[in-house]
């Protein structure tokens, strides 16, 4: 047990020594891995931040019922009764056309809109807050209310939110796709650098085998190298994204300030960052394992 520990320590020391022996090559390899990782990471964070914005502004799902011009108070009471009985309705309130015009005038700074227009162009309306949040069920409910007597138009106010959500879903799919592709690239980079290392140390490997080294012993320093390379590459990716977001946030703060908002992009959370490190370390390990095994089991070194 102690000897195995000592062997691991020796392999790890050898790895660090070898990385430091070729600083430029090490730096370039880490940059390649870091940049490859920073692309999906950056995209992920962008989508994540957009999702946050969407979640904040989406609010509760609302359906507006605009009544026909000729709908009288009887129709209005009829609709009220239907809304009271409807199980999908959380609450609703009636907005009379005159009240709506007043609010509009006040909000838009049009003091005497009615006088200019001559006639109030707004319809009576019900604003309904639904119990449901599922977009498909909301759409079902909107269609149902559209058929009610006296209703001119039933409008779902979350249309834009649904479109945004669809785009966000697309973005998330993109993140996974890009992540998978670049993860593969990372393993390939790991495989290739380790393969070159293995070829450079061919003599050493052959002599070690003749002296009774097991495959595990020979693989060990390369597995350390691959894993360390992956980890440091992941860390580089994290740093690149953190740096880029810090820069972008300077501008975002400026723009948000102009809109009277207090908004900053959120960087990679600690647990997500650690997950990235674990994954990149694993991919580096996998690449190294494949490279070392290919050499050990290959025909060229069948000793």
């Amino acid at each position: 047990m102690r000897s195995l520990l000592a062997q691991h320590r020796a392999a790890a020391a050898l790895t660090v020594q070898r990385m430091l022996a070729a600083p430029l090559a090490t730096l370039l390899t880490l940059s390649v891995i870091g940049i490859a990782l920073s692309l999906p990471l950056g995209l992920y964070l962008m989508v994540d931040n957009l999702g946050r914005v969407a979640a904040n502004t989406q609010g509760q799902p609302e359906i507006s019922l605009f009544l026909k011009d000729n709908a009288g108070s009887a129709t209005q009471r009829d609709i009220e009764a239907k809304l009271d009985a409807h199980e999908g309705v959380n609450e609703y309130h009636f907005v009379a056309r005159d009240a709506a015009l007043k609010t509009l005038s006040k909000n838009m700074g049009l003091t005497d809109a009615a006088a200019v227009l001559g006639k109030n162009p707004l319809p009576d309306a019900f604003v309904i807050v639904a119990k449901l949040a599922d977009p498909d069920e909301l759409e079902q409910m909107r269609k149902e209310m559209q058929t009610w007597n006296g209703v001119q138009t039933a409008k779902l106010d979350s249309d834009w939110a649904r479109r945004l959500n669809a785009f966000l879903r697309l973005g998330r799919d993109g993140v996974w796709l890009l992540g998978a592709l670049l993860g593969f690239a990372l393993a390939a980079v790991g495989f290739n650098t380790i393969r070159l290392q293995v070829l450079a140390k061919r003599d050493e490997i052959e002599v070690s085998r003749l002296l009774g080294a097991t495959d595990a012993f020979i693989r060990r320093p390369y597995l350390y190298l691959g894993t360390l390379q992956g980890l440091l590459g992941g860390l580089t990716g994290w740093l690149i994204v953190a740096g880029a977001f810090a820069l972008i946030n300077l501008r975002v703060a400026e723009i948000a300030g102009l809109y009277g908002m207090n908004f900053l992009l959120e960087g990679l959370a600690l647990h997500a960052g650690l997950l990235v490190l674990v994954l990149s370390g694993l991919l580096g390990w996998a690449g190294a394992y494949l490279a070392a095994n290919q050499h050990l089991r290959g025909g060229a070194a069948a000793i």
């Binding site: 000897s3 195995l4 000592a6 085998r209 002296l211 009774g212």
Partner: protein, 217 residues
């Protein structure tokens, strides 16, 4: 004990290196394998260390059929066999001490104990004062002695050497053979291949003469 029974080794392409070879080497014996180049000496040594496997017949080392060993068992066989190669096969990016240290690192011996053993092995071959030197700065004879130190540091029961005196002048070669003879006296089984017949005469040994893959009477 090493036993060859009816061993034939045919390489890909049909060359027969060894033909139905049978002999036994007792534990503690010193055997010199002679014969011209291409007689099959190297192949015979490779079969003992499971570097090659016989096409037919069996090779037993300490009762183990080495031709049938699994891939995972081969390293453990080799830890009991010290090997000296014609070209030395030293690692030129490590110093003398580290070269001899390698077999002990492989078996995971604690550093302190291993360092003692390395120095003892270097002392035996007369290289103790050069432990910090890089192999490239050593003479041909010194490099070969370094290779021997590496082969014996793990105190193997069997030592095989392929043309260990190949590139050395006669004096150096004689020195080396005396060294092998000394190892044999402490109980190590030795198999030395050489195409210099006088090397066999220099030390007291049993001679196996190989010609075109067949043992000569």
């Amino acid at each position: 004990m090493i036993t060859f029974s009816q061993v034939t080794k045919r390489y890909r392409g049909g060359t027969e290196a060894l033909k139905e070879l049978s002999f036994t080497i007792e534990t503690g014996e010193l055997v010199v394998l002679t014969g011209p180049s291409g007689a099959g000496k190297t192949t015979l040594l490779k079969l003992i260390a499971a570097i090659e496997r016989p096409t037919q017949g069996s090779v037993l080392v300490h009762g183990q059929n080495v031709g049938k060993l699994t891939r995972g068992a081969v390293p453990y066989l080799r830890r009991n066999i010290g090997m000296v190669f014609q070209e030395g096969r030293l690692l030129f990016d490590r110093n003398v001490f580290e070269n001899v240290m390698l077999p002990l690192s492989i078996i995971g011996m604690p550093h302190r104990e291993a360092a003692k053993r390395v120095r003892a092995a270097l002392d035996k071959v007369g290289l103790l004062s050069r432990e910090k030197a890089m192999p490239i700065t050593l003479s041909g004879g010194e490099q070969q002695r370094l290779a021997i130190a590496r082969a014996i540091v793990n105190r193997p029961a069997i030592l095989i050497a392929d043309e260990p005196t190949g590139n050395l002048d006669a004096d150096y070669a004689a020195q080396l053979m005396d060294m092998f003879s000394a190892f044999n006296q402490v109980g190590v089984t030795l198999v030395i291949a050489t195409h210099h017949p006088h090397m066999a005469q220099h030390i007291k040994s049993r001679v196996l003469n190989l010609k075109a893959g067949v043992l000569q009477a």
